[in-house]
């Protein structure tokens, strides 16, 4: 095996230009595909986090009696998919509002009458977060007597989910195309190397070298270049991610910390994918070349 590795490294050093093109291509493909993937992973996390915390604000009609309120509460707890029902009195709501608007709390102090209605904060059971289920729950709640309005930011949720799905599809298509393009570019690069060394390969065959002996260094070379390309692509992506998150942190503070990078195991899987690209490129070229 040492002999094969030595030949592979000798080849890499002897064909610096072709090596650079191959590594660059794999790095670029990995960078673009992983940038898409990173976006989806983070968008997915955000969507999940948001969905997990789906809370509906159920506003009650003004001047609802205590008995009617208790009845509504009972009915809310009986609806499938509802996990928790917490009463938020209009006073409590105003206090919360003041807390959320620390700079402008004075404005609220000037109010002669509390304009906020009594409400229930309804938390949905995990697993009932599908958009259709949430909508159904919301419709049922709306139909209850004493309920004035139900609010849960459904439009935003729907649009975000649709956008993510659209990007996810586009991402799979672009990722697939990039993977294939990288494989074929590596295949062509290996073909160029093979063509430039056809005489050498022919001599090897004449002195009794097996196809395996000839091919293994090329496979090693392709796999090594794939790994190097993937590491470079990931490094560039990480640098981009770091810059983006640092800037976002200045704008949003700790909220930016929610945007994460790939875990070490995913990074390893990406490097393995780069190696696969290199290996497949070699496989395609060698199959054609060795038949000739």
């Amino acid at each position: 095996m040492k002999v094969y590795f030595k030949r592979a490294f000798d080849d890499i050093l002897a064909n610096v230009f072709l090596t650079a093109i191959t590594v660059g291509t794999i790095a670029l493909a990995i960078l673009i595909a992983c940038a898409f993937a990173l976006f989806f992973v983070n968008a997915g996390h955000m969507l999940n986090a948001w969905e997990k915390g789906v809370r509906m604000m159920v506003y009650l009609k003004p001047h609802t009696s205590e008995a009617a309120r208790l009845d509504t509460r009972y009915r809310l707890t009986r609806i499938d998919g509802v996990k928790k029902v917490v009463f938020v009195s209009r006073q409590e709501a105003l206090a919360r509002l003041k807390q959320q608007m620390p700079g402008r709390a004075g404005l609220l102090d000037d109010l002669r009458e509390n304009p906020l209605p009594d409400a229930f904060e309804v938390t949905v059971v995990p697993g009932s977060q599908a958009e259709a289920v949430i909508e159904l729950i919301a419709r049922r709640i709306s139909s209850l007597p004493g309920v004035d309005d139900v609010e849960y930011g459904k439009r935003w949720l729907r649009r975000f989910a649709q956008l993510i799905n659209l990007f996810r599809l586009a991402g799979f298509a672009v990722g697939g195309l990039l993977f294939m393009a990288a494989v074929f570019i590596v295949a062509n690069t290996v073909r160029l190397v093979l063509y430039s060394r056809r005489e050498e390969i022919e001599i090897m065959r004449l002195v009794g070298a097996t196809d395996r002996f000839i091919k293994i260094p090329f496979y090693l070379e392709g796999t090594i270049l794939g790994a190097v390309g993937a590491v470079i692509g990931l490094a560039v992506l990480f640098a981009g991610y770091w810059t983006f998150v640092s800037r976002l942190q200045q704008e949003l503070g700790d909220g930016a910390k929610l945007i994460g990078f790939f875990s070490p195991s995913v990074c390893l899987a990406i490097v393995a994918a780069g190696m696969l690209v290199g290996w497949l490129g070699c496989l395609i070229s060698l199959k054609q070349f060795m038949k000739a």
């Binding site: 065959r205 009794g208 097996t210 002996f213």
Partner: protein, 231 residues
Amino acid sequence: MPPREDRENQALIRLFHVSKRYGAKAALSDITIDFEKGEFAFITGPSGAGKTTLLKLLYLGEALTEGQILVDGMNLARINRRTVPMLRRKFGIVFQDYKLIASMTVFRNIALVLEAQGKRPRLVAKKVRSLLRNVGMEDRENALPPSLSGGEQQRVAIARAMAGEPRIILADEPTGSLDPEAADAIFELLKDFHARGGTVIIATHDRSLIRKAAHRVVHLKQGRCVAIEGN
């Protein structure tokens, strides 16, 4: 000359009615010859007689069109692709144009044969140096082939041909582009191999080379075997 039956029993290479055609053009027609173990034979004839083609058929550098070739018990008409390297390891091949890999040092060119056979690196180094000593090239192991003279390159090619300890050396015009002194040195190396029990088959049109030794000479003309001289 031993009786025909004995020759057949000792035959290392046997050709039966072998023909090779390139399209409509016949390069070899109906060749039937045996080469014995330990034989030193010449194949001669004018340019285009089919000498090189005959050698190529033996190591499957070309596929034969008709007939049968047996090499050390292997039937070349039935051999599969995976067995071809095993067949080629029976031969050490010396080419007129040396066919050394220009980007590899003299040492690496010879080592390649041993590495291809799966020999251990330490053994490879020892063997290569011993071969280079035998051909008088021990001080040029790090040189690249293009920096060597024709005679030196051919000596390296012979060292490479002998590296895998083949049973047979096939040499195609081994002295064709060398001066008489260098040609003599190459011929001596081939005689040494023969003296140690190896089989040597040389394709040449150089009559002076043939005159240097009394061996069997196969005459080809326009792809046909027209005469076989010698014992």
